[in-house]
Structure formats: structure tokens, C-alpha cells
Symmetry: C2
Subunit: 245 residues, 2 copies
DNA sequence: GCTATCCGATAGTGGAACTATCTATGATGG
DNA sequence: CCATCATAGATAGTTCCACTATCGGATAGC
């Protein structure tokens, strides 16, 4: 197919496709003559992936380029792909350090220890988590950090599902792409679900319906000590706000 | 304090502070003379919040402005705040529609029904989820959609923790700010944890250590019960990749 | 008085993601 | 075979965003 058809099938304007080729995100078409090139379904697929990572995943073109280059390179060990995807996903690149960050790093290490996770606290993800903790404290919401264990429990559920999905892949390129898609688009998917679940939880609370058995009312409240003071003073009407999904 | 001190305490350059004031993100200092203004700890706190939402949360200044304006306006019903936070968080603003999107919306509605969530499938979060589903399919990863229920279970855990945190707030402004911080920074926190959990899960798989009782964490496997379904059917696919955390 | 700091305003910067325009060449249909 | 159209490749321009620089005048504090 020619570039015009590729454009209409993917919904990406022709100049933008050319731009992506220039930027090295998309391989050039196969030249059939000095001014004619043909593109195949691989190009179309690649283009859809780029748009998904860009529009839904919120990655920058530079980050997408890094990821795609690793996906394409069969030399690269698979475990590096996610490292890059993870790194480019975090908008932080290490601001100031200081004792706060040191403390946060220690806390992250403790969390990993506590949960028995075999993951380095010093990798990009651990570092990123430490920075989030610092940011929360700096913004005056250090209390939110108490939710770490609850969040970690949920993260285990999701990671299990992710790996299950990825584990079904056979071909290397498929596998790597699955990891990327799962990480990037999975984040968007979870974010949307989380807001829906918040809407539900607050609807229940608002209707005075919470704590009722299985579903979603605040259950036993938190793993770690401290986060779980269920009864919040109360008495003052509908304390927990209704939230729009 | 004067602007210089505010700058050094917050780590934000003076011209940037002025810029934020111009943009309406930060109230101007109280003028003590035609060319002298004084700032207080409220300004400092606001400044830290802006930087946290910007750097860690990845919100645009425009989005932060919208959120802050609602936070400040006591007229606004609380439930609208999260609606705005959620809307500004999704980088999508409704591309093409079409039958794919229709189908995805139906699926989202079914999911909500299945889980008994009291949340509108037609709100921003539901719409956003539908768009993610479409994007996954378009990118050739429709299979990932099968993980929706696992993801939803995890989202329930997180939403419960979020509401628990928010529920402890008393003052309205505190409450609203907690909702925003929890939604925005919580997303970053969960993302980092998820990557750590992925690293752990794949380390276990890589070491031939998987399938051990279906639990991925330490013995207790997390505090709360809600996230439920402990053993998902992993066990297929030997070559789960090692992933760098 | 002198210098450092400040206020407010205008203008400029650099990066990101395109978009427009141009030339030369080849494809396509009647 | 000729008019029209799409295409490759190249360069330059655009828009938005988040700042950053500079300036003129005023004041603080010594």
C-alpha cells in the first residue's frame, strides 16, 4: 500500500507519518522507485502502537522511540525493555536529593522486605516510588504514605495479571510488545478503573451503605497499623464525599 | 516572608513564582507597599502542592489551575472536584467515535454491572476506560482486556484505601485537597509499586519459583481481603521474562 | 546615600509535536 | 502521450507549553 492508504487506514495524516519516519519511530517504506514507496500491515500495526502509546499512554515521542528501538533489537535482553518503559514513564528524573529522599528510600526498602518482593529498591521503580513519597510529604500529605501497604497489595494483583497475560506470548517481539503495552496502557486502564471504584465507594458511603459485607465498603481497614482508623469521628453527617465517576 | 525567602524555602525560582501568580495558580502576596509584598506559609504550601501535581502527577498547569480553583471555591460541591481531577488526568479528549467505542462502552457497563459498582458508565472515568479498551484493541492487544476483572479487583482495594484516607479529613479544604492529592499522586505511587511487583513476579517466574501456592507476596499475602482471587490461572507459559524494577 | 531586593510588565527561549511548502519525479487514466 | 495527481525528500514554519530574561522604577535596610 502507498502512504495515502496507510494514512487513511490508520487515521494519521501523511505529513505526520513522514515525520515519524524521520524521527525513526517508523521504518521507511520499501522504495519501489525513486519517489514511490510501499508500506505493509507491519507499518500499520506499528503506527497504531505509536498512537496508542502517545494518546492513551501519554508517553513522549522520545520515550516511544527508546522503547521501540529496544523492542526491535533482538540482542537486548527482555528484562531491559520494561526497565526502559518504566523509566520513560516516570516524568521525574531525579531532582534534589537530601535526607528526605534517603529516608524515603529506606522506607521503600523496608516495604520490599516486608512484602518479600524480589525487586531492587534501587532500580528506577524503587527510586520513583521514593520520589513520590518525598513529594507527598513535601505537599503536606505524608499521611497518604500509610496507604503504601494497601496499594502494594493491589499492585500484586495487577502484576500477577500482567505477567499472566505476557506469559501467554510466544514470539519474542510479541512478548516484548505485550510487556510495553501492558505496562503503559495498563496504567491508563487501571487509572480509569480506580476512579470508577472511587465513585462506587463514595456512593456507598454517601448513601450510608458502607461497611456492609463483602463488596466494597471499607473492609477491615488496612494492613499496616495506623492507616485504619475506620470510624472517622463521624456524627457530622456525610463525611465521605460523593465523587463523580 | 518576602518572595526571595519563599523561593529559597520552596526551591522554586523567583521568576517562576511570579509566573504562577500571573497564571492565577498562586494568590499574590499581600502588598505592604507599592513594591513590596509578603507571603505566608499558605503560599508555601500551595507552591509545594503545585510542584507535586506538576512534577509527580504530570498535570499541566492549566489542569492544576482548574483543580485549584475548584478547591478554593466553597460553593462547588465536593463531588465535582474529583470529576475535574479525573477529567484533566486523562490525556484523551474523545477522538473518533464509531462502533468500536460503542462496543467498548457496553463492555464497561457490563463490568460495572458485574461488580455491582454504583458508578455511571457514562461519566468521564467510564468513557476513559472505554477509550482505553478501544486503543488496546486497535493496537492489536485486545487480549489484554480480559484482565479487566483482575484490574477491577485491585482498583477496589486501592479505592477503599483512598476513601479511608480522605474520610479522615475534617475541614472542607483539607478534604478536597486530599481527594486531589490522592487521585493524582496516588496514581504515580501505584504505578511505581506495580512495576516493583512486576519485577518481583517475573523474578519468581524466572527463578523457576512460580506456582508456589499461588501467592506472590510474603506469607500473609497482604492485609486486606477484598482484592480476592488469589490464584489466577498462571501456570501456562514457561517463559515469563525477567523484568527490571 | 548606597546597594540589594523587590514589583510589575513585556519580551524572549527552548522543547515538543506537528504542519506547510517546495521541487523533482513517477503513477494513472483517458 | 499528455494532463493530473500522488509521492519522496527536504527545509522551514507553527502552536503550545513552561518557563526565563530583562527592564524601569520603587523601596528596605544599613
Amino acid at each position: 500500500m502507498r502512504i495515502g492508504e496507510l494514512s487513511s487506514r490508520s487515521g494519521v495524516p501523511v505529513p505526520t507519518i513522514k515525520f515519524y519516519v524521520r524521527e525513526g519511530l517508523l521504518p521507511a517504506g520499501r522504495l519501489t522507485s525513486p519517489n514511490q514507496a510501499s508500506y505493509d500491515s507491519g507499518h500499520e500495526r506499528r503506527l497504531r502502537l505509536i498512537r496508542a502509546l502517545l494518546d492513551v499512554g501519554g508517553l513522549s515521542l522520545a520515550a516511544i522511540g527508546d522503547v521501540l528501538r529496544v523492542v526491535e533489537d533482538p540482542e537486548q535482553p527482555v528484562h531491559k525493555v520494561l526497565g526502559i518503559a518504566a523509566k520513560r514513564l516516570t516524568p521525574l528524573q531525579g531532582g534534589e536529593s537530601g535526607p528526605e529522599l534517603e529516608d524515603a528510600r529506606d522506607e521503600v526498602a523496608e516495604l520490599l522486605e516486608r512484602r518479600g518482593w524480589r525487586a531492587g529498591a534501587d532500580g528506577p521503580a524503587g527510586e520513583s516510588l521514593a520520589e513520590v513519597v518525598v513529594a507527598l510529604r513535601r505537599a503536606g500529605h505524608g499521611g497518604f504514605v500509610e496507604l503504601l501497604d494497601d496499594y502494594a497489595a493491589a499492585a500484586e494483583t495487577v502484576a500477577r495479571a500482567d505477567l499472566d497475560y505476557v506469559g501467554r506470548r510466544v514470539a519474542r517481539e510479541d512478548l516484548v510488545e505485550s510487556v510495553v503495552v501492558g505496562t503503559v496502557l495498563g496504567e491508563a486502564m487501571f487509572g480509569a478503573l480506580r476512579r470508577l471504584a472511587q465513585a462506587d465507594a463514595s456512593a456507598r458511603a454517601y448513601d450510608g451503605d458502607r461497611g456492609r459485607g463483602g463488596s466494597i465498603g471499607p473492609g477491615d481497614g488496612s494492613g499496616k497499623g495506623g492507616a485504619g482508623d475506620e470510624g472517622n469521628g463521624s456524627g457530622k453527617g456525610a463525611e465521605v464525599p460523593r465523587v463523580d465517576g
